[in-house]
């Protein structure tokens, strides 16, 4: 019996050692890049959209014969605690030297100090909180414009249309929504709009019935409704408002461009006005969109395009460092990212002194009855 147990132990040890050897062989010489995404749970659609875009980007890079990197995923479920644990796992066990996503402005804020300490740059295609401009630190970059900028464009649009009194509903448990609220309050009031504090209504993550909130805000007879809610929650808010006879307009940014918003808003989607970075009309964009539809039976949203660009921004940086013969480290990547001038499918990507996107043009959009985005003049 003992002999059999000893043999089993030896075999098991040998198998474990060989597995370990396999792993180190696989990763040695490779550059590992991480992506901390919500791949399960209520917000999984963000992570899965980004992962789909990376899959297409990896295939495209392979077809072009470019040096690739190994992408290692961490599932955050959009929870700060889990994201910090996944960050630790990816940096310490997988030795990632950079991240092409850390979904969630709150998560990015939580990781900023650690990224600076470990000298691991993070690029994001989704984090738009204005707080990241001042608190993102030297290692946080984003290929998507800050809400400080998009809310200015949104407020200017509202003022231009004579919508001088507004109300705002936002999810106080969501860092993006809090950032959006602050940015809108600042820009709309600066533009001469009336948005008093008692017209700003906070709700929480689990709220799906907004009837009382709508009734309260309706009493103020607003001309415009700012929506600081995400996807399905925003859609339910708009649908329930429209069912009470409110015609909006409901103003937002990329939160109103999500498919979940369209599904949940029903007929109310045609009363949504939102601004998005201008989509570049090019063969590359059409090719990416067609490939995305073919592979995933769903239209790509703005996050998918931005995630695709984020992948290539990181790939360019890795390639440039490799070509120069230097080791690919986080610090080298950060220096290289600072100098980025990349013609992506969403436009030219360059970073300013705060590592924010240097330039962004916006388009004003709404939906038609067939859920297609249509420009508004």
């Amino acid at each position: 019996m003992n002999r059999r147990r000893a043999v089993s132990s030896i075999v098991l040890t040998a198998v474990l050692l060989s597995l370990g050897a396999c792993r180190s062989t696989r990763t040695s010489g490779n550059v590992n890049i991480g992506a901390i995404l919500p791949l399960s749970g209520d917000n999984a659609s963000f992570g899965i959209t980004a992962r789909n875009a990376y899959q297409i980007a990896e295939e495209d890079a392979r077809q072009e014969g470019r040096t690739s990197f190994t992408l290692v995923y961490g599932d955050s479920k959009l929870d700060k605690g889990l994201a910090l644990a996944e960050y630790g796992r990816l940096v310490n066990q997988h030795h990632v030297v950079g991240f092409i996503e850390a979904t969630g402005s709150g998560i990015a804020l939580a990781l900023a100090d650690m990224a600076a300490r470990d000298q691991v740059p993070i690029i994001s295609a989704v984090d738009t909180s204005p707080l990241l401009t001042s608190r993102g630190g030297p290692f946080f970059f984003r290929v998507v414009p800050s809400d400080a900028y998009s809310s200015k464009v949104l407020s200017a649009w509202a003022m231009e249309k004579g919508l001088k009194s507004a109300v705002l509903v936002f999810n106080q448990q969501n860092d993006w929504a809090v950032g959006f609220k602050n940015a809108v309050l600042l820009s709309y009031r600066e533009g001469g709009g009336s948005l008093p504090d008692n017209a700003v209504l906070p709700v929480t993550d689990d709220v799906v019935d907004f009837n009382s909130a709508i009734a309260t805000l309706q009493k103020m007879a607003p001309r415009a409704w700012f929506v600081g809610l995400m996807g399905r929650q925003a859609g339910l808010f708009v649908r329930q408002s429209v069912s009470r006879g409110i015609k909006g307009p409901f103003l937002g940014v990329d939160n109103l461009a999500q498919q979940e918003f369209v599904d949940a808003a029903g007929a109310g989607k045609t009363d949504a006005w939102f601004v998005l970075p201008t989509e570049v009309k090019s063969a590359a964009v059409s090719k990416f969109a067609a490939r995305y539809r073919q592979l995933f039976q769903r239209d790509p949203d703005s996050l998918a395009f931005k995630a695709y660009d984020a992948y290539f921004v990181m790939l360019n940086a890795v390639e440039t460092i490799k070509k120069s013969g230097q080791p690919v480290t986080g610090a080298a990547l950060q220096r290289q990212l600072k100098a980025t001038n990349f013609p992506g499918i969403t436009g030219t990507i360059q970073f300013d002194q705060h590592n924010d996107l240097l330039k962004a043009d916006y388009q004003r959009l709404t939906y038609d009855a067939e859920s297609q985005k249509v420009p508004v003049q």
């Binding site: 209520d42 709700v203 929480t204 689990d206 399905r232 009470r244 029903g266 769903r298």
Partner: protein
């Protein structure tokens, strides 16, 4: 009150199964999620006729309750192990949520074919949708029907006997296994109704039942699982309180705390205020009797 109406079927199912099994069946509301997703996939994706799709959904809800009960919880119920059952329940919730999330790529879904029109003759009053009328109509029907069935029928008596003491009920010749089956099917059925009406109004997500389940726990624990009508009224009251909270900008951020506040108040009333009140009344009546006796002497 409308908002509370959407919670009622789930709370009734929860109370029914909790009383029977003597544990908190946290997993049970997930059968509502299973039913709602089954309705979505059969009606919206497979394009089944509406009635067939609904039948499939209700069947899926009840079947999932049966499978979960017999595979994971029946033994704990028989051996009176509430904590082990609670832990397994949490495992089932995580598993089902992840399966639903994987099936849909994490995206929230919404009914389009099944959606009850919100205009024309389906619109009862301003802002009251077809699904709202359905949810409101279900409250007296389900709460009243279940209360009558449990308290005023022979089967109800058997259910109460088994819930009170399984061993004694078995010795008296009651068919405990049959009652187990009926209770779990009823629980699954109620959750299926709750899941589908919720899905009609608020769309579908993998975690659509998590919050409702916790509210059901709060109310059932606070008022007691043997008071079905009070459970239904408690859920309606939670809905009213949440709406009142949301309507006040200062309090809107605390909307979700209402059910837990109700739980805390309910526990204090049940375990502190009520015993104290009874004790005080007994002492008072005892004192009065003593005084009366002394006066007679």
């Amino acid at each position: 009150m409308l908002r509370g109406a959407y919670y009622v079927p789930i709370a009734l199912a929860f109370a029914l199964v909790a009383r029977h099994g003597r544990y908190l069946p946290l997993w049970l509301p997930e059968c509502g999620m299973v039913a709602a997703y089954a309705a979505y996939f059969s009606i919206e994706r497979a394009r089944f006729p509406l009635l067939l799709g609904m039948a499939v959904a209700v069947l899926a809800g009840s079947l999932s309750a049966l499978v979960a009960h017999y595979a994971l919880f029946a033994g704990h119920v028989a051996r009176s192990e509430p904590f082990a059952a609670l832990l397994r329940g949490i495992g089932v919730i995580v598993l089902l949520d992840n399966i639903a999330s994987l099936l849909t790529g994490g995206y929230a879904l919404a009914f389009s074919r099944l959606a009850i029109p919100s205009s024309g003759r389906f619109r009862m009053v301003h802002a009251l949708l077809g699904s709202d009328a359905l949810a409101l109509g279900c409250v007296p029907l389900l709460a009243g029907g279940l209360w009558a069935a449990v308290n005023h029928t022979r089967s109800g008596l058997q259910y109460r006997s088994v819930s009170a003491n399984r061993q004694v009920a078995t010795q008296y010749g009651l068919r405990v296994q049959r009652i187990d089956f009926i209770v779990v099917v009823m629980g699954g059925l109620l959750c299926a109704i709750g899941g589908i009406t919720n899905g009609l109004r608020y769309g579908l997500t993998a975690t659509m039942m998590s919050t409702t389940a916790l509210k059901a726990v709060a109310v059932v624990v606070a008022v007691g699982y043997d008071r079905l009508l009070t459970v239904a009224l408690g859920m309606l009251a939670i809905g009213v309180l949440e709406s009142l909270c949301q309507a006040r900008i200062r309090f809107s951020a605390f909307e979700d705390g209402v059910s837990y506040a109700a739980l805390a108040i309910g526990l204090v009333v049940h375990y502190v205020v009520w015993p104290w009140w009874r004790h005080w009344r007994e002492r008072r009546s005892w004192g009065a009797e003593k005084q009366l006796a002394e006066a007679r002497l």
